[in-house]
């Protein structure tokens, strides 16, 4: 059995093509069933997100299946196959395994290491499992892909550093404060980015929120949203000492917070550190504030710089992730190879042959005064038993090897007789785990 993948991604197709070839997440049953009707396709799975479409299948005839899937993708969406053929990629065998492992580990994502793709593949697998278009091979394949993705996430830092400005702000705060739950934040002005960052802070535990705005009503409105308190703009400086994090995004043409004022505030706070985020352009806070001890001032460019550095860090980690993927490919490929009928029959025979030899040795050890001809007939009898026992299973394996159920028998034989199957951690199917979202 082989695995093939036909698909397109943000790397091979512009959005105009991707939107044409996407599958609606609410109606996956029809395309999945149609895909399974293709003569060369034994099992099927469709991953469709805004950045990629992947048709993944288990098949006996990889070349035919890939051609059929390309046609299917075009026909289903009513476009001509020629029109999209340059946007499609097809992978088979080891390449296909590598491809899905990389996609699941977010190594092929637009934003390297972004966590959504794993959840999207899990959802796609959920449909395939629900409509029974995934069988033994794809079940195992997908679960392996999930475990590879998990390994990549825990063993490398590929997803550990924020790559959006608002998340970067939260992360920096953690590098200063350790805990955020006993901290306070003040929002000055009402920029959208400010609000977004404030929301991140609140979901990360910040409990106290103060809001100030030149229009007091707007401050009150925003404060209500965060369960916070509005303070009049004229005296916001007096309240600064109460908070640890300050975010500003006013339209003021000049600095609204200077070095002298901040010095005063820090003194009132007994030098407990403060993190100031100035998202406004032109800036709201005098950059000299950053020279004060225990005050950390970041403007938009600084935060962008952090995001860039984090992306670079992710790039570095990608190398390690690729190495993990390579390791796991080998294991899975071996398992797939073990599903071949012939080597299984040979392994089964060898196993029983070993048992026969051991038991004969034991018996002959106890019965020392057997004649040679007696020994021979005992040996022959043991051999005959093996042949009789093996006859039916071997016949079934051979007969079913071209059916869709063939792999199930092979897998069962390998499990029942404990034949060496170095497929690694083939755990029981777990319920889908949606907790991996950022």
């Amino acid at each position: 059995m082989h695995i093939v993948i036909v698909g397109l991604s943000h790397k091979t197709a512009p959005v105009e093509i991707r939107e044409k070839l996407a599958f609606a997440p609410t109606a996956m049953e029809r395309p999945l069933r149609q895909m399974l009707e293709l003569p060369s396709v034994a099992e099927g799975l469709i991953v469709s997100t805004c950045n990629r479409v992947e048709l993944c299948a288990a098949t006996k005839e990889p070349e035919a299946a890939m051609a059929a899937l390309r046609r299917f993708l075009a026909e289903y969406h009513e476009v001509s196959p020629e029109e999209i053929s340059s946007n499609l990629y097809s992978h088979q065998g080891e390449e296909a395994i590598r491809h899905l492992f990389r996609v699941a580990s977010s190594l092929d994502s637009m934003v390297l290491g972004e966590p959504q793709i794993l959840g999207q593949i899990k959802t796609a697998y959920g449909y395939a499992a629900e409509f029974k278009t995934a069988g033994l091979i794809l079940n195992r394949f997908l679960h392996k892909a999930f475990s590879v993705a998990k390994r990549v996430r825990t063993e490398t830092a590929i997803a550990s550093n924020a790559v959006s400005v608002s998340f970067a702000a939260v992360e920096l705060a953690r590098k200063i404060f350790d805990r955020l739950d006993n901290k306070g934040v003040m929002i000055i002005g009402a920029g959208e980015m400010c609000e977004l960052a404030a929301r991140h802070f609140v979901t990360n535990g910040v409990s106290k929120v103060l809001v100030t705005n030149r229009t007091f009503e707007r401050a009150e409105k925003l404060a209500a949203e965060f369960n916070g308190k509005a303070v009049p703009f004229e005296c916001f400086v007096e309240h600064l000492a109460e908070v640890d994090i300050v975010m500003t995004s006013t339209g003021a043409p000049n600095f609204i917070l200077g070095q002298r004022q901040m010095e005063e505030v820090l003194k009132r706070r007994k030098n407990r550190p403060m993190f100031l985020i100035d998202i406004a352009v032109p800036r709201d806070i005098d950059p000299k504030v950053n020279t004060l001890d225990n005050a950390y001032l970041y403007d938009v460019d600084d935060l962008q710089g952090v995001v860039q550095a984090n992306l670079k860090e992710r790039q570095k980690e990608a190398g390690k992730a690729e190495a993990i993927v390579e390791q796991e490919i080998g294991q899975f490929y071996q398992w797939l190879g073990n599903l071949e009928v012939k080597p299984t029959i040979i392994a089964l025979r060898r196993k029983l042959e070993e048992i026969r030899q051991q038991e004969l040795d034991k018996t002959f050890g106890n019965l020392k005064d057997l004649t040679d001809s007696q020994r021979r007939s005992i040996e022959a009898m043991a051999g005959a038993i093996i042949n009789k026992v093996l006859h039916q299973p071997t016949a079934v394996l051979k007969r079913t090897q071209n059916d869709t159920s063939g792999e199930d028998y092979v897998d069962a034989v390998r499990t029942l007789f404990d034949l060496p199957a170095p497929a690694g951690d083939d755990k029981e199917f777990k319920p889908l785990d949606e907790s991996d979202q950022e």
């Binding site: 063993e155 200063i176 007994k270 030098n271 407990r272």
Partner: protein, 278 residues
């Protein structure tokens, strides 16, 4: 006698291995590296305890009388205190500073003569082990404070300059490092104070005078004032962060000088020569 020296060498090698894993742990994110480091260090610490006990039995006096013994004891205290801190803060970075320091102390110790000191009978008093133990525990706690201080300055510089190296992602937060500084101060300062007081009592029983301004006493007093100033500043005017970190580093430099410099360059009652009456 050879048994405890052999044990000492095995301990040293274990610390060496632990140091390597700690340094790898600075770069690698692998959980296995961190575990290897902490287990090697724990194993080394257990060996070290046995080493000290063996030495004690062999010589019959608390093993802190010769340079070799006291370096070994200092390293032991350092590792022990670090392990207590590890239970609370779980940071591998701290170990990456402390383990090499313990290793260096052990290496210097291994170069020092190892014969059993014949303790000057005048000094043989119950106050001797008390004084030395308290002093070294205090030193060890302040070594942690200095390591936390160095980490604080590194982290603070990156946050201020907005240029981040790979280290940034592994250092604990500024708050954590600053709270380490404070914890060390609250434990280290009483230890050091009691160490000095017990030393004075011992001196009185040995030489009939509490304080004789010998170089080591003077330098220890200077360090004590430094830490007293830091503690005072922290409690009253909110010295913290960078300033506290710098103080902790300077304070420990003074302590190191008090320990090494005075023994090596200056003479006085505290030099090991006088202990052993050679």
């Amino acid at each position: 006698m050879t048994a405890n020296v052999l044990l000492f060498k095995i301990t040293l090698l274990t610390y060496f291995a632990a140091t390597i894993f700690y340094l790898i742990g600075v770069i690698s994110r692998k959980e296995s590296v961190r575990l290897a480091a902490i287990w090697l260090l724990s194993g080394g610490f257990v060996l070290h305890c046995i080493t000290l006990a063996a030495r004690w039995f062999a010589t019959g006096i608390t093993p802190v009388a010769s340079l070799y013994e006291s370096l070994s004891f200092f390293a032991w205290a350092l590792v022990g205190i670090y392990m207590i801190f590890y239970l609370r803060y779980r940071t591998i970075m701290l170990g990456a500073f402390i383990t090499p320091l313990a290793l260096v102390l052990m290496i210097i110790g291994s170069a020092a003569p190892k014969q059993a000191p014949a303790l000057n009978p005048m000094l043989d008093s119950w106050w001797f082990p008390v004084h030395v133990t308290l002093a070294f525990l205090g030193h060890a706690v302040f070594a942690i404070a200095a390591a936390a201080g160095i980490m604080y300055l590194l982290q603070e510089r990156m946050l201020k300059s907005k240029k981040f190296s790979g280290l940034f992602y592994r250092l604990p937060s500024l708050d954590t490092l600053d709270s380490m500084n404070y914890k060390c101060l609250t434990f280290g300062f009483p230890l050091m104070t009691m160490g000095i007081i017990s030393g004075a009592i011992w001196a009185n029983s040995a030489w009939g005078g509490y304080w004789r301004w010998d170089p080591k006493e003077t330098w220890a007093l200077i360090s004590w004032f430094l830490y007293a100033a830091l503690l005072h500043g922290r409690l009253t005017v909110g010295w913290r962060g960078r300033r506290a970190a710098i103080f902790a580093i300077i304070g420990f430099a003074f302590l190191l000088f008090t320990f090494f410099g005075v023994n090596l360059f200056l003479s006085g009652e505290h030099s090991f020569r006088n202990f052993t009456g050679q």
